[in-house]
Symmetry: none
Subunit: 203 residues, 4 copies
């Protein structure tokens, strides 16, 4: 009973947390951080305003929780795919493909992610988010470093190029999410992969 009680409590806690997080993601994506209101999020989540504060201490924290949750899920998917990839080129392809597919499935999250990323540029980002960002860059960096060592990629400034590729995929995604006409996420993936591999110079 005691165990079941605690479990039930745990379940409810998680349920509410998820519920509010999802509502927040939707609202933040639609209006941006500043224009989103706790009222609107609570309404969307189907709870009272005060309830939001039982689960998240502040609006900013709620926003960051949205960000963290999405980024961690993305990282998990990416890690799985990278493990499954056989060589560096496959891992590079996986890096691009997973991000494309994940964000295509979670467009609301992408809007939040992209907006917050732009805060990085303004120098106002949360340290935690910056760390998550750096972490991903490091993953890609190691893929590139392996590739260069094994001769599958041509020698280059690995950290700089890693960031370049990282940023490029984000930028391409922004295009893709921005112009939802292209409903087929596969094509941009390969096209992007080819661009990264061969550039636009003459063969």
């Amino acid at each position: 009973m005691a165990v079941a009680g605690r479990t039930k409590r745990q379940v409810l806690l998680e349920f509410r947390t998820t519920e509010i997080l999802e509502a927040a993601r939707t609202v933040f994506a639609q209006h941006g951080f500043a224009a989103a209101t706790i009222d609107n999020i609570a309404l969307t989540a189907g709870v009272a305003k005060g309830t939001v504060y039982l689960y998240f201490p502040s609006k900013r924290d709620l926003f960051l929780a949205c960000l963290r949750e999405g980024v961690l899920a993305l990282h998990a998917e990416l890690a799985a795919e990278l493990r499954a990839a056989s060589n560096c080129q496959a891992r590079l392809h996986a890096f691009i493909a997973v991000r494309f597919q994940y964000f295509s499935r979670n467009r609301d999250f992408f809007r939040i992610y992209y907006t917050e990323f732009s805060q990085l540029v303004a120098g106002n980002a949360q340290p935690e988010f910056q760390d998550l960002y750096e972490q991903q860059a490091a993953v890609l960096e190691s893929v590139l470093a392996d590739g260069v060592q094994s001769g599958l990629f041509r020698p280059c400034d690995v950290p700089g190029t890693a960031r370049l590729v990282y940023d490029l995929t984000r930028a391409a995604l922004a295009q893709h999410i921005l112009h939802p006409a292209a409903e087929t996420p596969e094509i941009p993936i390969d096209s992007l992969y080819q661009f990264v591999l061969k550039g636009i110079g003459p063969s």
Copy 2:
């Protein structure tokens, strides 16, 4: 006399406008649109709050004026360099170089530019800004199209690739502005240009 009087007025008008615009750029860059306050901008500009409204009808208008001014100056510089370039590869290089150099010189403006750009992704951008954006993409597109036709670039989806390159430069700039350690803007330019031309694949 009349001419002098009008000139004096004109001068004051321009002076104040510039003064306020510069203050606004600084404050918007530091805090973002929503968190910036007119009070703060006025204080920074060294004028009273009401004075700001003598020159700009609203906070939003002031923000857009910052954006417009910077974008137009950038476009002007770019147009001059493109005219001076001898062939498509030189023009592609100029496209990348001018943007890099302009934004390196105007970092506050870049923050505003980048943030507003992220609003494009959220679908909340001003039509005027979207037009300016599209216009630049079109410029790059024509450079690429010429290059493909003349064989200097390999055949590709020109509009898509143009956006890719466009977005890549912006993303690389974000990196560069974000990590101001690298005070030498020349290296990223060439490195970026090489990346665009040859990708990272093995030669």
Copy 3:
């Protein structure tokens, strides 16, 4: 339980609404619409500024609510008295008497009512208020029409005369409220009624 809960909420809602409405009436009567401030109203009501906006969406709405509430109460009293009156002359007397007595009891409201009425003249009145005004004029008109038909009143331009009498009572009330020396509302009522009936000409 549910009923009690809902009732309690209902009670609080009505209590606060009334509380704010009364404060607003006082403040609007004292300063007029433009010079009244929400701050002052909130202070008078003993609530915070934001609370006012929980019950009324805007200053203008609050003002109109004051107006509406008072006018509707007046109309209700008038309707009851008119039903109780036996003939047209009695109804005319009731029309005058009820208005006199109601406004004597609600002087703050009269100030608001009278001020807003003057907006009618400037052509800036709310349509809703204009409707309420016209409605009352129509009531009096039907009293006069009946009276003319039954020979109790002499033939005349009924709509025009109705407005004349309507306006006259309002004007007389303004006098009465303005000079509160005469604390006996009965005398002006009969004196006014006699004036309406017989004018000032020689018998």
Copy 4:
């Protein structure tokens, strides 16, 4: 020369004063006191904002000057007509007719007059205006008193009845100005006069 110089100055002073006063009347009539702006008045008068303050020390003073000017002109016309009238009934008729005709010719002024009058009810009117008002009431009162004494009017509470008649004409005017359909000011005058004389009772 000195005389001419002073005269020229005098002329200009009067010209500007009138110019601004007329503009103010128009703007106050259109927007009411609170919503009227000095900017708008200056623009309408064709002078700079600061110039208004050379002729009138404050917005409120400008408003009161509008009021005073119009009221004094009305009083002058009324005095002339009263002197020309042969007996009390003629003077009563003149009282009604002059006011009707004057305000019909000066509708903008009527709006200001009427609005300010409603301030009297709220107890916020300027003492000066109250005096002007009382003065007119006294004029009418003496007409009525004479009439009662000479048997042309039936005995009544003279002061109270004077105010009644006074207010009635103002109210009827409001109707007339409010519903400009009736472009013939003569009819309401006689109709009003008859009402005052005979009331609506059966003959």
